[in-house]
Subunit: 209 residues, 2 copies
Amino acid sequence: MERRSGSRLSREQRRAQLVELGMRLFSERSFDEVSVDRVAEEAGISRSLLFHYFPTKHDFQVAVARAATEELLASTEPDPALPPVERLRASLAAYIDYVSDRREAFLSLVRGASGGGAQLRAVVDRAHDEVARRILDGLGLTAAQTGPMLRVAIHGWIAFMEEAVVRWLLEEEEGSRETLLDVLEQVLVGALVAVYEEVPEGLRAPRSA
Amino acid sequence: MERRSGSRLSREQRRAQLVELGMRLFSERSFDEVSVDRVAEEAGISRSLLFHYFPTKHDFQVAVARAATEELLASTEPDPALPPVERLRASLAAYIDYVSDRREAFLSLVRGASGGGAQLRAVVDRAHDEVARRILDGLGLTAAQTGPMLRVAIHGWIAFMEEAVVRWLLEEEEGSRETLLDVLEQVLVGALVAVYEEVPEGLRAPRSA
């Protein structure tokens, strides 16, 4: 029952198609640089039909940001087959590579260049919460078992990671990717050690393995 | 030649007085919660006179944020009489105390609850750059001597500090202030060590001194 012709897509299909187009357009240019007319032109639809799916440009931006964040979370999903430190490093490497390939989109999202607002904030908060959950999971803890200072340290580190990667992109990736990975990894371990006053069990695998 | 009567203030004096009032009002309530009418009423002037000094509420917010940031930077000025590690810790303690006393203002500024925009972003960027300069200064380095990864690590740590303090305030300061200080201090040292692969000379003072 698959519909082959592109001329009559369902509302959901058309929305998904537009979001996908947005992810492609915004990977190379910031959100503010891409006009609504350009989006409509690339999609081969009228400006008014675009507004039918997304009443404002901001609605479109939020939908694209949400889809990109989901894709980023999927591409950095920790691999349970790896030991803890390697698992962390593999996810961090995937994170750096994903955002390097889509620098403009990442910079506009994180820097909130287009004014931000509560909906974009919610997209970013949800991604941060998922990253925090994964870190706790890696430490063998549930959110309920977590003390306030551990939450403080983990969310501090997520902010570190985001800002460090933004700066690294803005520096034209001048510093080495491996050094960036080392810094991110060591700062997370350091932040956890500062809270626990020892290396948490989940990260106690030998570094030189 | 000092003018005593409050009735006729110069434009600059009146602006400064309004900014000071804003800093007081926004320390307890977020920017979005305080109406322009409330500001005018507290200042004992008309709404239209307030708009004469600050054409939009956003202009007022930017002026208040700028003044608060300058005050924060002044209150956390490193004390050159202290050895490096104690100097860092004293500045961090002053930072935590300053923002604890003005939590709503700090949360609205950092979270950009009111939409943010380029002018607010510039206020925050200038504060971050000054903090980065102080850290480099503490390490005996000028900006010109700084490699890209050191900038990445320092700005990452500033983001860590801001987010950690925001979370700590949101957690109702449940975790101890001393633990927060330990975490901030150890993460900075850890980030610098990750870049240098050793403890930088400026921070090599014995921790137990």
